[in-house]
């Protein structure tokens, strides 16, 4: 995994997401989810190409139920973009890179 991507957990979520100077795009994922695996390389690319402008975080829902429930995630992959700690954009399901970038373009 790219070193530009941060692994989040129930314990570290608030610290990372609320304390970030740049918007944080959180990927709610799990090992057993095929579409999650498909978007993983896309997120790696975005992390590299937009480093400094956006932080990508990954949250494994199996291990981190508290945050998963807090944001009512009921389908994965779900991507939520947080700005100043507040959820601003929510994307459900795997999407091509172009479409992902378009949906978060206002924050890049």
């Amino acid at each position: 995994m790219s070193e530009k991507i941060v692994t989040l957990s129930d314990a570290t979520f608030d610290e990372h997401v609320k304390g970030s100077d740049v918007p944080v795009l959180v990927d709610f994922w799990a090992e057993w989810c095929g579409p999650c695996k498909m978007i993983s390389p896309v997120l790696e690319e975005i992390a590299e190409e937009h480093a400094g402008k956006i932080q990508i975080g990954k949250l494994n829902i199996d291990d981190n139920l508290e945050v998963t429930r807090r944001f009512d995630v009921m389908s994965i992959p779900t991507l939520i973009l947080f700005k100043d700690g507040e959820p601003e954009v929510r994307l459900i399901g795997a999407k091509p890179k172009g479409q992902l970038l378009q949906e978060i373009s206002a924050y890049l």
Partner: protein, 321 residues
């Protein structure tokens, strides 16, 4: 200059990847345009990416996970020199004599992205949606097309599955790992699914069936709280309180790009000639679920992918000048 290929394969399910393995071994250096990520089975790897255990693919005594099987096929195609590109074809022209121009990205670009002497279409099929009220709005908030992705969120809850084929029963059985109760809503009074799946579903104490029933509405403000069911003969309706709805009512072929360019069956599937994978356009071949509304198995798709590569190879030999 426009990139030129002897063989381009569109799609990367069992049909596309088997065609790629055969074409690569025949030294045709195929390009596979594998699709782009999505959650509705029109994606790299195809429908098996959304399944769990595949028990009927020959060669795997103990079964194999769908995504794992597709990963193996992909590696095998790459090993023999197939090139895979994660992209979608936005436009193609089959009217001109070969090579056929294909566009990736902007369909209005002056120049095509790539041109192919022979074209193998393996774009597969995607899940049908119900088309009822509130389905789009609640997708991801209780409405799902992927049991393996979302079953986890419905622990100890009562959920519904729409459909009566193998996919519907496979999803229903899988979902009983999490849910307290799974109601299968089916529009007829008998199932299309295979006997073995039917037996497993009927035996499962967590599964119940609603026959001759269709879902006409999905209820809930921010997440699913129930579905409205209509009986097909009496037309009576009632609300069933469920927190999740998994849609598995069948598939439609990914043939939209081909409309008006080659012969399709009335149901949208690509028409192939006789026992071959040839289509109405010379040099264009079709394999897998985009041309098969009857068998629709991973192994039949793979078999027809092999046929398409052999048909394309022989066609190229005949047209080699």
């Amino acid at each position: 200059m426009v990139e030129h290929r002897k063989v381009v394969i569109i799609g990367s399910g069992p049909a596309g990847l088997t065609a790629a393995i055969y074409a690569a071994r025949a030294q045709l250096e195929p390009l596979v345009i594998e699709g782009e990520p999505s959650s509705n089975s029109d994606q790299p790897g195809g429908q098996l990416m959304l399944t769990t255990e595949v028990e009927n693919y020959p060669g795997f005594v103990d079964g194999v996970m769908g995504p794992e099987l597709m990963g193996i096929m992909r590696s095998q195609a790459i090993r023999f020199g197939a090139e895979l590109r994660t992209a979608k074809v936005s436009r193609l022209e089959l009217a001109s004599p070969t090579p056929f121009p294909l566009w990736i990205g902007d369909p209005n670009a002056d120049e095509p992205t790539v041109e192919a002497d022979a074209l193998i279409i393996a774009t597969g099929a995607r899940s049908l949606m119900l088309g009822c009220a509130n389905e789009d709005r609640l997708l991801g908030y209780g409405v799902s097309t992927c049991a393996t992705c979302d079953g986890f969120f419905f622990r100890e809850q009562h959920i519904a599955v729409a459909g009566g084929g193998d996919s519907a029963l496979e999803e229903a059985i899988f979902l009983t790992r999490f849910a307290s109760k799974v109601t299968v809503v089916h529009r007829r009074d008998e199932l299309r699914a295979s006997k073995i799946m039917q037996e497993r579903a009927f035996k499962n104490p967590k599964i119940e069936f609603l026959w001759n029933s269709v879902i006409v509405d999905i209820l809930g403000d921010t997440k699913v709280s129930g579905i409205t069911i209509q009986h097909t003969t009496s037309a009576e309706t009632f609300d069933l309180p469920v927190t999740g709805l998994f849609v598995a009512i069948g598939h439609e072929p990914n043939s939209g790009l081909l409309k008006g360019q080659l012969d399709l069956e009335d149901n949208g599937y690509v028409r192939t000639i006789g026992r071959s994978t040839r289509t109405s356009v010379d040099g264009v071949f079709a394999c897998g679920d985009v041309q098969d509304s009857y068998y629709r198995q991973a192994v039949t798709s793979a078999g027809s992918g092999c046929m398409a590569a052999i048909d394309a190879e022989r066609w190229l030999e005949e047209h080699d000048e």
